[in-house]
Amino acid sequence: MRIFVTDQDGTEHELEALEGWRVMEVIRDWGLNIKAECGGSCACATCHVFVDPEWQDKLNPPTDEEEDMLDSVADYEANSRLSCQILMSEELDGLRVTLADSARQEEAA
């Protein structure tokens, strides 16, 4: 299984993913720039990604908890999601996301 992640500099990375892993964990373990400060507890919004519009409908819709956390991303767009709330499964093989600026380890200057 793989996912395609575009980083904040616009470079696309093809990452191997495992069933049951959170997309945030895949991105973090491959060493891309993601802060994920709360470790996946839906409590920080620093794992913010933009989901490719073609994939948006294939994801489970955000829970109320995720919607609430999305209120605290200043660069919100209609396809914003928290990558720690997306679990990898067969259906998501090939998922495309872009890392948001607000997910950077050191906030952009």
């Binding site: 802060k35 507890s41 409590a43 919004a45 609430d68 999305l70 209120d71 605290s72 200043a74 906030e107």
Partner: protein
């Protein structure tokens, strides 16, 4: 309080779980502590990020919430009378000739201390900055991330952005003072208290404030003084007159001023310590909890507690070099029990 220096044995930077338990271990060896935190209450990440969530790996607590752990720690350290200084950030640290330190906060409090314990966790919580161009140039002049003086907002055209309690509370509190007030949020749903949401909606209906669904687009103004903010809305760009802007997007953690104290760091983000004393590269400055690094480090509350116990022995030797340290158990030592107020 400038001019009045506070003299103490130990200054603990950070009132997270690890800083709190350090008060206990230091108290057992008779060291007096002052604890400083940027937040307005104790608990660090546990209280700020997950007060309601259960933790399952605190020894002897099969399950306890972040807030529950904090409350228990506060109760446990109560006998030692540590003094807390909230709402301030430690900014400077200077080594004095006699080997002690002078520590200063952004609220101009000054401490003279023999030992510093950095228990700053993931760093300092700082407000998230909106990604609009040139926002820095307006900060603390016409863009604020917190309200320090309500009067700064009197007769101003105020724009508040956000959908949580801070945004709602300040909308309600500042409405009577401001010349005009516009609340902006990305959706017409709020995660604040229902009561505040109702009050806010009533003000909108009475025509006293505006509510716009949208997001910050760009700022206009000169020399740090805003004149207008432009919002991105479903209907396109919308300009709103604004002389003050309050964005409330919550907090994020940064290492902060401690990074500039000349301590040896690991990957520019964590403070290197040894695993016997948990001392940094500067003798007399210790680092425990999430902020430190050593081979094998695990960012667990449990590890931070252990680090605090060993650190306290080393701190004791610095503060009272002539006293012999006797190893004692709290169950059997009447001396320790006296300190705890149970004997």
């Amino acid at each position: 309080m400038s001019g009045n220096e506070i003299v103490t044995d130990v200054v603990i930077i950070g009132a997270g779980p690890v800083g709190l338990f350090a008060v206990f271990e230091l108290g057992l060896v008779d060291l007096k502590c002052h604890v400083i935190d940027i937040l307005d209450r104790p608990g660090g990440q546990c209280a700020e990020l997950y007060p309601e969530k259960p933790i399952y790996d605190i020894p002897a607590f099969p399950e306890i919430s972040g807030q529950g752990l904090t409350d228990n720690l506060m109760k446990q350290i109560q006998p030692f009378g540590a003094e807390f200084h909230f709402n301030q950030m430690v900014t400077n640290c200077e080594k004095l000739e006699d080997g002690s330190f002078r520590v200063t906060t952004d609220a101009d409090e000054v401490f003279l201390t023999k030992v510093i314990v950095v228990a700053a966790g993931g760093g300092s919580f700082q407000p998230k900055r909106p990604p609009v161009e040139d926002v820095e140039q307006y900060e603390n002049k016409s863009v604020f991330y917190a309200v320090r003086k309500m009067d700064d907002f009197r007769d101003q055209d105020l724009v508040i952005v956000g959908g949580g309690d801070s945004a709602l509370d300040w909308t309600l509190n500042l409405e009577p003072l401001a010349r005009s007030l516009t609340l902006v949020h990305r959706r017409d749903q709020f995660r604040g208290h229902a009561d505040s949401v109702n009050k806010m909606r009533a003000l909108v209906e009475e025509g006293k404030i505006n509510f716009i669904t949208g997001q910050l687009g760009r700022l206009e103004g000169e020399n740090g003084q805003l004149t207008e903010v432009y919002l991105k809305t479903a209907g396109g760009e919308l300009g709103v007159p604004a002389t003050r802007l309050l964005p409330f997007f919550g907090l994020t953690m940064k290492l902060g001023p401690v990074a500039d104290w000349g301590l040896d760091l690991h990957e520019n983000a964590l403070i290197k310590v040894d695993t016997e004393r948990f001392e940094t590269s500067v003798p007399g400055i210790f680092a425990i909890g999430d902020i430190n690094w050593y081979p094998g480090k695990l960012k667990l509350i449990l590890s931070g507690f252990h680090e605090g116990a060993l650190m306290s022995q080393a701190a004791k030797r610095i503060v009272h070099p002539d006293e012999k340290i006797v190893f004692q158990y709290t169950t059997s030592s009447s001396k320790l029990q006296k300190k705890l107020g149970v004997a």
